[in-house]
């Protein structure tokens, strides 16, 4: 091999390096987002709401966030944690996404958080709500950030609210899994500290379709019922409760009357109260514009699943703008994201030092009325009280809050159950 040909090879190699560098420079303008949602199976409708929410924001901003062009790749998790992990690895290793967004079930969130640590890739949990991901397990997941809510976050205010309404005894009935334990646990904690009594806790299995036996079991001396059905039970439970002749007020977890299912519900849910960080009936200019645009685009009212992902896009937009439109690397980006404060459709939102949102929690009552100039009276989650800027630790300090274990089936203990 002559010196000349060596030199030529050297030049070609140099050119190749330059081109690849140039390509990399160009790629920095592109922000690749891997979006995980169960687009097939029983949660397909929720997955659609999630994707629509994010894409609406992208559409409004010409497919750009903070100046970077977005490559939006959706993968189907099928609602299975192992599949979520496989798809996340695909997005990270093959599509080389800068961040993962989404997941729906708590089990998906728990499965994806370690992937983010292992692969040093940002994971923005827009829906999975398990308390511990931003509480006791937070140190394990430095690349994890939540933009939705933690399960017990809306429960603390509504527990206090229920007590202030004068309810003394409440019977709780919730789906038998971690989300149910955490929602009921938070409610019980503040309700009992204020002087109320949870006199019963019933845990129907997660796929319960017939609530008859559980409804018949509800204690008659309760002033109100706290309920958290999931899946198909969300529709079924209120129907069966009404059919049983129930006259007691019903308090529900935020997801029990969410807009993803509210339009399909009957008048029996009118008067039911629930708490969440969002309601489509929120009368702010920001939300009214969001609801109208979303409804015009997708033909239905946005649910909290839509709003949460819309707001996630908005927060990434703000952080990318801070970064000058180029990807600064996962941890520097996370730093910018944590510092972001935006006015979302749900209201002002910022992140605490464990990367969970501090946000308003709304106590909402289902009412049938006309809103935002729509002609027909419909069911809306009308906001009756706002708890501004609620932290996941409610009124306690972080240290004080961590003295208790995570809410579970047995914690807080049911002191007043017979």
């Amino acid at each position: 091999m002559t010196a000349k040909s060596l030199a030529r090879i050297g030049m070609i190699a140099f050119a190749a390096v330059l081109t690849s560098l140039a390509a990399r420079g160009a790629a920095a303008e592109e922000l690749r987002i891997g979006f995980l949602a169960p687009t097939t199976g029983p949660f397909a409708q929720i997955a659609t709401d999630m994707i629509n929410g994010f894409q609406l924001y992208l559409k409004d901003h010409d497919g750009k966030l903070g100046g970077a062009t977005i490559k939006f790749i959706v993968e189907d998790t099928q609602g299975k944690p192992a599949t979520a992990v496989l798809k996340a690895e695909k997005l990270i290793k093959q599509d080389q996404v800068h961040m993962l967004i989404g997941g729906l079930l708590a089990s998906e969130g728990y499965a994806l958080a370690p992937v983010s640590t292992r692969e040093k890739t940002l994971y923005v949990s827009s829906i999975p709500a398990s308390d511990n991901l931003t509480q006791r397990d937070e140190p394990n997941y430095p690349y994890f950030v939540r933009t939705g809510f933690s399960s017990s976050q809306p429960s603390h205010p509504i527990g206090e609210w229920a007590c202030q309404q004068g309810y003394k005894k409440i019977a709780a009935q919730a789906a038998d899994y971690a989300f149910g334990y955490e929602v009921v646990g938070g409610f019980q904690k503040t309700f009992e500290e204020c002087g109320g009594q949870i006199i019963q806790k019933l845990w129907p299995p997660i796929n319960t379709m017939d609530f008859g036996p559980y409804i018949a079991d509800l204690k008659q001396d309760a002033d109100a019922i706290f309920s958290l059905p999931v899946g198909a039970g969300v529709l079924q439970f209120p129907k069966q409760l009404a059919a049983s002749g129930n006259k007691k007020p019903v308090i529900g977890a935020g997801t029990a009357y969410d807009e993803f299912v509210l339009p399909s519900m009957g008048d029996e849910v009118i008067g039911s109260v629930s708490a969440l960080q969002y309601s489509a009936a929120l009368e702010t200019p920001e939300n009214e514009a969001f609801v109208k645009e979303y409804r015009a685009e997708f033909g239905k009212v946005p649910s909290y699943y839509s709003e949460s992902n819309y707001t996630t896009a908005k927060m990434i937009d703000a952080a990318m703008t801070q970064a000058g439109g180029s990807w600064p690397g996962p941890l520097p980006f996370l730093e910018k994201l944590v510092a972001v404060k935006v006015d979302a459709p749900r209201g002002p939102i910022s992140l605490d030092d464990m990367r969970n949102p501090i946000q308003n929690v709304y106590i909402r009552r289902v009412e049938k009325r006309e809103m935002f100039g729509y002609p027909k009276p419909e069911l809306w989650n009308v906001v009756i009280k706002t708890y501004p800027q609620v932290s996941q630790f409610w009124k306690w300090s972080k240290e004080e809050f961590f003295k208790q274990p995570v809410y579970s089936r047995d914690y807080p203990p049911c002191k007043y159950c017979e």
Binding site: P81, K93, Q94, S107, A111
Partner: protein
């Protein structure tokens, strides 16, 4: 009955295929490495189902239980005892197999009291019990949230956290499983299992303890299920009750039926087809479920012997035309060689 393609040629084809997989996989895309590793693990599970369904004629609907037990054992040892993070991982594999064997030894006592649909129902119920345990024993299993494992073990210089390294480890265990199961079904014991599948009464009359044969086959299948579970837990780095659901058991059965029961390699091809369609096609198109469903329907209509039945069928076609051969469908597995369903033979018994 002579098989269509000679046994030696089939062996060479399998060897060539496996060498190709071993050589090409690490150079494919990162996603494919993970997917093929997953296929190999579920292929071990499918082969264990095939030992029962294809060779012994027992349709077990509970194989997910052993997968789950192996997986939870790995996760619990790794998180609670920091056991299985280095060379002791090989011990975890051994424990996983033993747990599968022990559980199958217990479950077998209950399930093998019955046959046919009743056997299917009992195995289903037992595996649901294991699922319930995983789902409700919160303090040990983390309930619905599952357990996250620490990083994959490091074996001396080899970091299994590297997907290619882990792929080779899984491939190794897959080969060991394939070869040992092949030796097993070719052994006199394996032949008696086929005899039981064909006509249990006759085997009993001949003096075989058919219950014991089935029991041993059931236990061996459980052991391979446990092995698959250990490998599965380390692959995805987490376990959850989702892995133990009925769907996993049904999947394993479908893989065998699709590929061809009674062939061992059929389950492997079945696992490859199902997972490619489900996990790979779903990254490309949103309507992957229709393709999967369509293939199931077509396979049941036109390939009652599964994909590998094609190899066996074509040279037989002439014979079949000359002399009617009883159905060789899965449901009629008992009648495969024309004994049970052939009235003439029955008269001569």
């Amino acid at each position: 009955m002579r098989t269509g393609v000679s046994r030696r040629r089939k062996l060479w084809a399998v060897v060539a295929l496996l060498i190709a997989v071993a050589a090409i996989t690490p150079h494919s895309t990162p996603f494919l490495v993970l997917l093929i590793t997953r296929i190999l693990i579920l292929a071990i599970l499918a082969m264990s189902v095939d030992l029962l369904l294809g060779f012994t004629g027992l349709s077990s609907m509970g194989q997910a239980a052993y997968l789950g037990l192996g997986a939870y054992l790995t996760a619990i040892l790794a998180t609670r005892c920091q056991f299985g993070l280095g060379w002791d991982f090989l011990l975890v594999i051994l424990f996983g197999i033993l747990l599968g064997v022990a559980t199958a030894a217990l479950f077998g006592l209950l399930a093998l009291r019955a046959g046919g649909v009743y056997f299917l129902m009992i195995t289903l119920a037992l595996s649901q019990c294991v699922w319930g345990l995983a789902y409700r024993w919160n303090s040990l299993t983390g309930g619905d949230n599952g357990i996250n494992l620490p990083d994959r073990p490091v074996l001396g210089m080899i970091r299994l956290g590297n997907d290619a390294a882990y792929f080779y480890l899984v491939l190794g265990f897959f080969l060991v499983s394939l070869v040992s199961l092949y030796v097993l079904v070719q052994s006199p014991f394996g032949h008696s299992l086929v005899g039981i599948r064909e006509r249990e009464v006759r085997m009993r009359i001949l003096g075989y303890n058919t219950w014991l044969h089935k029991y041993i086959a059931f236990i061996i299948a459980g052991g391979f299920g446990g092995l698959a579970g250990v490998l599965w837990a380390e692959l995805s780095g987490q376990v959850s009750p989702e892995e133990l659901t009925l769907t996993t058991s049904v999947d394993a059965l479908l893989m065998v039926v699709l590929g061809g029961p009674g062939t061992l390699m059929g389950g492997v091809f079945g696992a490859a087809i199902v997972l490619f369609l489900r996990e790979y096609l779903s990254t490309l198109v949103p309507w992957w479920q229709y393709v999967l469903g369509g293939i199931y329907v077509l396979a049941i209509y036109y390939l009652p012997d599964g994909l590998l039945g094609l190899l066996r069928r074509s040279p037989d076609a002439a014979v079949a035309a000359a002399e009617p051969v009883p159905s060789r469908g899965v449901g009629a597995a008992v009648g495969r060689h024309g004994t049970a369903l052939n009235p003439k033979r029955r008269v001569s018994e």
